[in-house]
């Protein structure tokens, strides 16, 4: 029950609100229980009470005058008062009759010729009876009316109070639940920031989203309905058991068997429900992922006319989701209040069997009152039980969702560091670095090189030769398996991620843009980046011309992923972003591949100025773009095969020379 424990821990964060709500709940339940009691008292004592014994008395409070004599209900006499002759007021049909005598037993009543005959079984008795007129009857009721009104007013008052408390209870529980969910979401989101990049490589974004939003949403009910139902039901059940024990210890003890049954029930239910719920929740997450992926690739799906297949695959997820929802439903329909009904009826069967069987030939062994009360309590006992089992489904759903949430929270992460370090110079050195995305599959082998402030280092090689991996290591998106990477002589493993990245800038192959504006995508809404810096950076990359047609200039809205912009435009914005942050180490990973030569020339020019005071790494396929680099590293299958500047490498006549020749050759071939 680790999940349960942690769900409780979350609730405890808001225990004051929850306890207050539960106290309110107790008051409102108590007030609610008092309601029928008051109604019963009113009916029994004050309305049906007219048929109770009356005695002749003196004129006074609560006394009623009838035909010159005064009468008062027995219960209004105090101990010292003297009671006169007993009389009765009895109803036959809708009419009331005055009987100037006590009656020896009650039964079926009939009135003929001013006489009332009361029959019970074989016995019967005859009394003189006088029919009461409307006014005379009202006289008899008169002492009750203020009492009835008082009770009604009390009842209504109680109700109003109860509803206030009920409102408070519901509101505060929802408040607490929403706070818990909010806290949970904030926690997961914070945790997400701590997870290594690796974690996101194989987990579709849609699935992560499902954990943070949908799964937490599924927990909400736990803190509202489940909690309050379990709380009130437990109170009710305890109360009813106490009453049962007072009534008859042996019978009550037998009824205790219900508790282990409930425990076993819950246990068995969870075995199946948990399985189904796991599948349902994971399908919700798959559905999310698939919708996300389909939207991202919609133009491809449509261009290749794969709508049918895609919707077919979606149907499979949707169908599985439906199938397991139905399995769970079937389980719920077999259990829940349906099975409680069966349990109740079995109890009735046992009850009739036991008492009925026992009474045959012998007659009743227990008094009638006890039997009735017992049945009444059993009936009442099953109401809170129904409440509890009906919430089992919600409870289970919350537990499964909680498990998914907590398993994400349990992923190993590294604390986001807030330490700042002053801008380093940017002297980078790799010393015998080995690295693989998977165990024992090195994509980088024995990488050693140095790059100093103000230098430009170019990485060339075929796709997949490990160029981007080197940059991933420098950025600590991943950590090297062996070897050391140093910045200004300090091992980067000793510097927290955030601290080291503070002074790095990167322009990625797939530039990612956020919803916002062009300007906000450059500054990332970082308060340190002023509007001037943003505009300066955009100007430096030649964005002025490219975006000149936009109505709002740099405040033109950018939608999700910048999908209305071309790849080249996105690269420009991403480039400007890197410049705006003025990094000590700047990494350009195929940063200008989609930008036209003219704009690229603008950028090249700007770079001449910009590379001063920082170390620049360029990854490029076009050798032409890196000819001015101070150092060129030629990579092949994860190894540095050549190192030097353009001239040196050309003189070497090695791989670089060959690559260069090929590029030249290919373009002249085509030109020819």
């Amino acid at each position: 029950m680790k999940v349960g424990r942690r769900l409780v821990d979350y609730a405890l964060l808001y225990k004051k609100i929850i306890i207050a709500a539960l106290l309110m709940l107790t008051v409102s339940v108590a007030a609610e229980l008092a309601g029928p009691f008051i109604a019963k008292k009113m009916i029994d004592d004050h309305i049906l009470g007219i048929e109770a014994a009356w005695f002749e008395t003196e004129k006074g409070k609560d006394a009623v005058s009838y035909k010159g004599k005064w009468y008062k209900r027995e219960q209004y006499f105090n101990s010292v008062e003297e009671k006169g002759e007993e009389v009765r007021v009895l109803q036959v049909g809708r009419e009331f009759y005055f009987i100037p005598a006590a009656i020896s037993f009650n039964g079926e009543r009939k009135v003929t010729d001013g006489k009332m005959i009361i029959t019970k079984g074989e016995e019967f008795e005859t009394y003189p009876a006088q029919k009461l007129s409307g006014d005379e009857l009202l006289d008899f009721y008169n002492p009750e009316i203020p009492k009835i009104i008082k009770l009604l007013a009390f009842y209504f008052g109680l109700l109003v109070v109860a509803s206030f408390f009920q409102y408070g209870q519901r509101f505060y529980l929802q408040k607490a639940a929403n706070r818990v969910i909010q806290k949970m979401r904030d926690d997961i989101f914070q945790h997400i920031q701590k997870l290594p990049i690796r974690y996101f490589d194989n987990l579709p974004a849609g699935k992560v989203v499902a954990r943070i939003t949908n799964d937490t949403e599924a927990i909400r009910d736990l803190y509202v309905t489940v909690l309050s139902t379990f709380f009130t039901s437990t109170i009710y059940i305890i109360g009813i058991y106490i009453a049962l024990f007072i009534l008859d210890v042996k019978l009550a003890a037998i009824c205790l068997i219900l508790i282990p049954i409930l425990v076993i029930w819950t246990y068995l239910y969870r075995i199946y429900a948990s399985k189904y719920n796991h599948i349902i929740r994971s399908k919700v997450s798959d559905i999310n992922a698939m919708i996300n992926e389909s939207i991202q690739g919609m133009n491809i799906i449509q261009a290749f006319s794969r709508e049918k297949q895609t919707s077919g695959e979606f149907e499979e997820l949707n169908g599985t989701h439906y199938k397991y929802q139905n399995k769970l439903l079937s389980l719920n329909s077999m259990t829940s209040h349906n099975l409680v009904g069966v349990l109740r009826n079995i109890t009735f069967v046992a009850f009739i069997w036991y008492f009925g069987g026992g009474s045959i030939g012998v007659g009743s062994v227990v008094t009638l009152g006890v039997l009735y009360a017992f049945v009444d309590y059993i009936n009442r006992l099953f109401q809170p039980v129904t409440g509890i089992v009906n919430q089992l489904a919600n409870l289970e759903q919350a537990l499964v969702a909680g498990e998914r949430v907590f398993s994400l929270l349990d992923e190993d992460g590294t604390q986001v560091a807030d330490d700042k370090m002053s801008r380093y110079q940017g002297n980078v050195s790799f010393e015998h670095v080995f690295f693989g995305y998977k165990e024992n599959e090195y994509v980088l082998k024995d990488i050693t090189f140095e790059a100093n402030q103000g230098e430009t280092v170019a990485l060339v090689g075929h796709t997949g030769s490990g160029k981007s991996s080197i940059m991933n290591l420098l950025f600590r998106f991943y950590d090297a398996n062996e070897g050391k990477i140093m910045i200004d002589g300090q091992d980067i493993k000793d510097i927290p991620y955030q601290t080291i990245r503070e002074h790095m800038g990167i322009v990625l192959q797939d530039p990612y843009l956020f919803t916002g504006t062009i300007a906000s995508n450059v500054s990332l809404d970082d308060p340190r980046i002023s509007r001037e810096t943003v505009e300066g950076a955009l100007k430096a990359v030649g964005a002025e011309k490219v975006f000149k047609n936009l109505g709002k200039g740099y405040d033109e809205p950018v939608i999700e992923k910048g999908s209305t912009l071309s790849s080249g435009q996105r690269q420009l914005i991403s480039f400007a972003r890197a410049l705006a942050f003025n990094p000590a180490i700047l990494i350009l990973d195929e940063a200008t591949s989609s930008i036209d030569t003219e704009t690229e020339a603008v950028i090249q020019e700007a770079m001449e100025v910009l590379k001063k005071g920082r170390t620049t790494f360029i990854i490029a396929h076009r050798l032409s773009t890196i000819k001015n680099a101070d150092q060129i590293l030629v990579l092949d299958r994860g190894e540095i095969v050549e190192k030097g500047n353009h001239d040196e490498l050309m003189k070497n006549g090695g791989r670089y020379f060959q690559m260069y020749q090929l590029q030249q050759g290919s373009s002249s071939n085509l030109a020819g």
Binding site: H46, G356, F477, Y497, I559, T625, N669
Partner: protein, 585 residues
């Protein structure tokens, strides 16, 4: 208020049997449920009167057992049918929803954010499902049972008293209407803000590298926590109304009780009803409590379902931006493609993005499209893909205007390699086969060969079966581009479109791929947009775009003679190369 049932009426009509059975059984069980306690009562009387015998006893036991079994079975059926219907509507709506998304073009996705669309497919459909299940149950409880009890009270006891007792009902209806409207509004807001939250998370996950690279973790946490606070506030607004339902009904039910008892006593005093009748009336009033709460519950649930259905319906009602023609024409082979005076403007744009475009591409020819970043190259291609409603002028294939052809036919001719390389979370093989499902091993191998992907395949851990993560994260840009190209080539399309698709591969690979395409695609049309003129030098026709207009056109040779932008770029690229050459020699 009940409009959700009206909006879902197609579903209820489709499943009327299911719902009739469920409601019928639900009603029967409602009656059956009252019998066991009554039986026990009778049994107690028999015990008390000493008239219990084994015969009587077994009669009771059999009866109880019978009712238990019947009621259990019936309850199972109605629950399964009723709530099963709820799941069915959820599933159907989700299918429709996805089907609709698959018909949508970029304009729609520009207006709707992915995270919100995801929220609609999960969170909102769940709320609708609750309405179709629990909502129907409360509807039955509050109508059928309530009316039954009311009529029983009226006929058996007193209409006067019954009507007096339900006097608070109109007040309740009024209040529920007010609450309902508020819940609807606030719940919509809450769901909207949930959608925003979803969207925020999605962006943060998708852009995680940027956030990490620029140390924006804290800022992002701050923004996220602002949003959870917003979701919290919206939900509290819902809770404020939601919590009002029960207490309000409780007070009004109490008022009914009060009137029932007070007026009931009055009627007894005035000898209109008997004492016994008053007691029974009290019992019936007690039975009315749940149906009355059910009314509140019903309204609450219905308004939530309604709000969510509106959100989902809003998406479903979005009219396809690009539709098939009513009377499509059919073309066997796309002979030539011609743009005549085509003007085009993006829905979100203030200026024309293509102006007076005139281009003819003969069958089997290659068209090169070059121009600066943002000059309209991709926009040009999107006309053929029909991603947007057509602009003015005429774009025709084999002489037939493209708008008279079905989308499917046009797309069946085209093999498209987009600028950004979208791969799906599957194996490399499946991603390539996405282009043509029935392709065999030879086709596959050939496509890989043509896209020059063979050597990379050897380096992938599981070769063709390597799973590429979402968007193929584990692959380099060049590898993604080449898978993308293989995907288009395996289709062996009539028209191949390469939209700046070689930007991330090196020159050698580019040359090889271009060469392969030239050789293999004899007699088929190819359109290439690029920044590297080397990729289009061989083209039969080259157009130079600037601000959506053709500023130069011709073959490589004439364009060089023209001494315009093309020549300038060519020289620039040549200078770079030759400067290398000088150093090299």
């Amino acid at each position: 208020m009940f409009s959700i049932f009206k909006k879902l009426s197609w579903f209820f009509k489709e499943n009327w049997k299911r719902y009739s059975v469920a409601i019928f059984l639900l009603t029967i069980v409602g009656i059956l449920d009252v019998i066991p306690p009554k039986l026990v009562g009778n049994a107690i009387d028999d015990i008390h009167l000493g008239s219990m015998s084994w015969d009587v006893l077994s009669k009771y036991l059999w009866l109880l057992a019978g009712i238990t079994i019947i009621s259990y079975a019936m309850t199972y059926v109605w629950m399964y049918q009723l709530f099963g219907g709820a799941f069915l509507v959820e599933r159907k709506l989700r299918s429709n929803y996805m089907g609709h998304l698959l018909k949508m073009t970029p304009t729609f996705f520009e207006k709707n954010r992915t995270g919100d669309l995801m929220a609609r497919a999960t969170n909102d459909l769940k709320a609708i499902s609750v309405t179709a299940g629990f909502g129907v149950l409360t509807l039955i409880d509050s109508s059928v049972f309530m009316l039954t009890i009311l009529f029983t009270m009226g006929f058996l006891i007193s209409w006067k008293l019954t009507i007096a007792a339900i006097l608070p009902l109109p007040i309740m209806a009024l209040l529920m209407k007010v609450y309902g409207a508020r819940i609807h509004k606030r719940f919509t807001e809450a769901q909207d803000s949930f959608g925003d939250l979803n969207d925020k998370v999605l962006e943060s996950i998708a852009g995680v590298r940027v956030i990490r690279a620029y140390v924006q973790e804290r800022a992002d946490e701050g923004r996220f926590s602002d949003m959870t606070e917003d979701v919290y506030k919206k939900n509290i607004e819902v809770a404020k109304i939601d919590s009002l339902f029960d207490p309000t009904i409780k007070v009004l039910v109490g008022l009914s009780y009060l009137i029932g008892l007070g007026y009931g006593a009055y009627l007894v005093f005035h000898q209109s009803i008997t004492l016994g009748q008053l007691v029974s009336f009290n019992v019936y009033l007690g039975m009315l409590i749940w149906p009355m709460f059910a009314i509140g519950e019903l309204i609450n649930i219905m308004q939530r379902g309604n709000a969510s259905l509106d959100r989902v319906q809003e998406t479903l009602d979005y009219v396809q931006d690009v539709k098939d023609p009513d009377h499509p024409q059919s073309v066997d082979t796309p002979e030539n493609v011609s743009f005549e005076e085509v003007d085009f403007q993006y829905p979100s744009s203030q200026v024309k993005n293509l102006t007076n475009l005139k281009v003819k591409i003969g069958k089997g020819h290659t068209l090169g499209v070059v121009g600066k970043t943002g000059s309209g190259k991709t926009t040009f291609i999107k006309q053929l893909l029909r991603e947007y409603p057509e602009g003015s002028g005429s774009l025709s294939i084999a002489g037939v205007p493209i708008k008279d052809l079905t989308l499917e036919q046009v797309r069946s001719w085209i093999g498209y390699v987009p600028q950004d390389h979208v791969l799906f979370s599957r194996t490399v093989k499946e991603n390539i086969l996405f282009g043509r499902h029935d392709a065999d091993e030879t086709d596959l191998e050939q496509a890989i060969e043509l896209a020059d992907f063979k050597k990379d395949l050897e380096m992938l851990p599981d070769g063709l079966s390597t799973l590429v993560g979402e968007k193929g994260v584990a692959l380099s840009g060049g590898q993604k581009q080449r898978i993308s190209i293989a995907r288009a080539l395996i289709k062996n399309p009539e028209i191949l479109i390469l939209d700046d698709s070689l930007s991330a591969v090196d020159a050698k690979t580019e040359a090889k791929i271009i060469e392969n395409i030239r050789n293999e695609r004899e007699g088929k049309t190819t359109i290439i947009t690029t920044h590297r003129l080397s990729a289009v030098q061989h083209a039969d026709w080259i157009i130079v775009l600037e601000d959506g207009k053709v500023v130069e056109e011709g073959v490589h040779g004439t364009l060089l003679e023209n001494d315009g932008w093309y020549k300038e770029q060519f020289d620039r690229q040549q200078v770079e190369d030759s400067s290398l050459e000088e150093v090299g020699v």
